[in-house]
Symmetry: C2
Subunit: 374 residues, 2 copies
């Protein structure tokens, strides 16, 4: 039922997470009682400890970790912060509530008794400790009952259940279903899905064009957008649609380094948060366009050209050197094409052909010809 | 029916808008054929032409207007741009499609025949011309079939129909219904509403807290958020909920100049776009909090204090001088309170009391005591 209905899985996941927190706390307590220095091992979240797993096609975190000790002047504060947030997460699980990153900062914030020292200087410090907790517990932020600002919407040939409410994404009007920040299987279950693929677009204005033209109905698919760089909730939902329902994910992004980077994060994960890739990355995601060749292939006019600036050129070269693009002939050609053109192109620029050229001609042709980069 | 169902009103609104465009074009044609200089009158969109209508409680545009002439070197370009966008809007209405602001820029963009001159230098120029069209035709952007980036979500005790699809906002899970950019009566109709008021919050993370605690169910209301400064779609929907369903609108915003400004725009309209106030402003909207007095009233600790910087102080004084706040004792006291405190407070800071203090104690108490600013 709808009221406060949570699916069966919740308790199990929560029990698992809670156990991990209790184990961490007990380890600390044992050390203290045994006269040893209390410490926790925190896997290193740094580029130096990020490994490109070519076989799996994702970024992974390496084995490096650092001990965080209570009786070490440089580490005492972060040690206590880690315990504090660990304890807050345990409270959240017990109360069956979730909190935002900002909320966690406030929840943990106080003046340490007998001092004038605050527990956290700012939210950045708090966010960093939460990432430490994620990696050291091996639990996604979402499993710690913590959410972030949400963005992104969805429509299409699928019915899902969100917190007990049945959401028919075929009947969501012009607005759509707002994708929440936490989309784990105990919050969202897939119920009925006829869709054969997912079309993911960069911007919600483009999404509106596709929804208005009822692309998802004509082509039997699901239509999503992530408000630019999609937040974790959108990436996790795409991953679940791909993994659990075997749906291919096609990305329609701008022909510029930012579009390429968005694709790279959807596909391989982000370099700064490699530990999340195992649950978020979609190595099989396809880049449908916009492609550098489209300027000629689609017969576009020079109206669509937005000149590359120095930052764009620098970023394009950096992206070309990513390990997963470095050996990829298609991507090397694509980025050379972008640099050779000397200009960027946005998805919206296809409107210079016709309002619905992108929904009626461009995407259908590319899908039919299987003309994409992967 | 759902498929491409538009409610009856659409055609009527479109006919009205189309007639206005045709009239503008015919006026120009008549002048040209009669040997007179073609021109259109564009009401002046400037602070100097913005009037505070105290009786209505909204910002209005004054009577000043400027002629835009074809045979005037300084005006020829903008004259032609106005005609170009007018023609594009006519196309959109004929095709029964909508376009984003970015899309309109691309639709109008081309090289003027026989020259190397582009029709528009950039999107800003295009957006400005669209605003000119709105005011000179007396038609909202939404009536011109033009939409902007959407933001904002909604849940609560209301059922609405969006483009033929019935949306039960009581069963929207943790994600919610994504509020579209165009919410005119022919797109969205209110069907069944038991809710007695609307609680509008600033951030979607706060909204998630209220939704998770099912505040809207316990207090029989509608819960909305606008992703910070709410876009026009959200403001227009709030206005319609207020006007057509007689629902009071309570705003829960941060205690800082930005929160006060958001409230001011919801209430009176924005200074730069005064012509839209008649359809968007809600003079009766209430500011429920956070209030400067809450630091003491709620017994908050100094953890919640975020020091005001020079820009904040300057903005606070500017807002205090707005005509609608200038004579308002409550608002003068409120802003003095903020400046006297010397610090800002966020809605999330109430989490320092308890995760659900804001949903279970703060808002219910304020509503019961009718303790708000209006």
């Amino acid at each position: 039922m709808a009221k406060s209905g949570k699916a069966g899985g919740r308790k199990e996941r929560d029990q698992r997470t809670e156990r991990k927190i209790v184990e961490m706390a007990e380890g600390v307590a044992r050390s203290a009682l045994g006269g040893r220095e209390p410490q926790v091992a925190i896997p290193t979240r740094a580029r130096s400890n990020t490994i490109w797993n070519k076989r799996k096609g994702i970024l992974e975190m390496g084995k490096a970790s650092q001990d965080r000790q209570l009786f070490n002047l440089n580490q005492a504060k972060s040690f206590m912060q880690t315990m504090l947030h660990g304890s807050s997460v345990k409270d959240l699980i017990a109360a069956d509530k979730t909190l935002s990153l900002r909320g966690m900062f406030y929840k943990g914030l106080h003046t340490v008794a007998g001092t004038k020292e605050k527990t956290f200087a700012d939210q950045d410090e708090s966010d960093g400790i939460l990432e430490d907790l994620e990696v050291s517990l091996g639990a996604l932020r979402e499993e710690l009952h913590i959410f972030a600002k949400k963005a992104g919407t969805m429509v299409g040939n699928i019915t899902l259940v969100d917190s007990g409410d049945e959401i028919d994404c075929r009947r969501m009007g012009s607005g759509g279903y707002a994708i929440p920040s936490i989309v784990e299987p105990d919050v969202i279950q897939f119920k009925r899905c006829e869709a054969k693929f997912v079309l993911h677009v960069e911007k919600n204005t483009v999404w509106s064009r596709f929804n208005e033209d009822r692309f998802w109905e004509k082509h039997n698919c699901i239509l999503t957008e992530g408000g630019g760089q999609p937040p974790r909730g959108v990436r996790r939902l795409l991953r679940r649609l791909h993994e659990e329902l075997n749906l291919p994910i096609y990305c329609l992004l701008d022909c510029d380094p930012w579009g390429h980077y968005i694709y790279s994060v959807i596909k391989q994960g982000s370099i700064s948060l490699a530990f999340e890739s195992e649950r978020l990355a979609i190595p099989e995601a396809k880049f449908l366009g916009i492609r550098a060749k489209d300027y000629k292939a689609c017969g576009l006019s020079d109206d669509v050209q937005i000149a590359l600036n120095d930052t764009d050129i620098k970023r394009a070269k950096e992206i070309a050197a990513y390990p997963w693009f470095e050996d990829h002939k298609g991507w090397q050609r694509e980025i050379e094409g972008l640099l050779g053109n000397g200009f960027k192109m946005e998805v919206e620029s296809l409107i210079t052909k016709d309002i619905s050229y992108v929904t009626e001609t461009y995407v259908p042709q590319r899908l039919k010809a299987k003309d994409w980069l992967d």
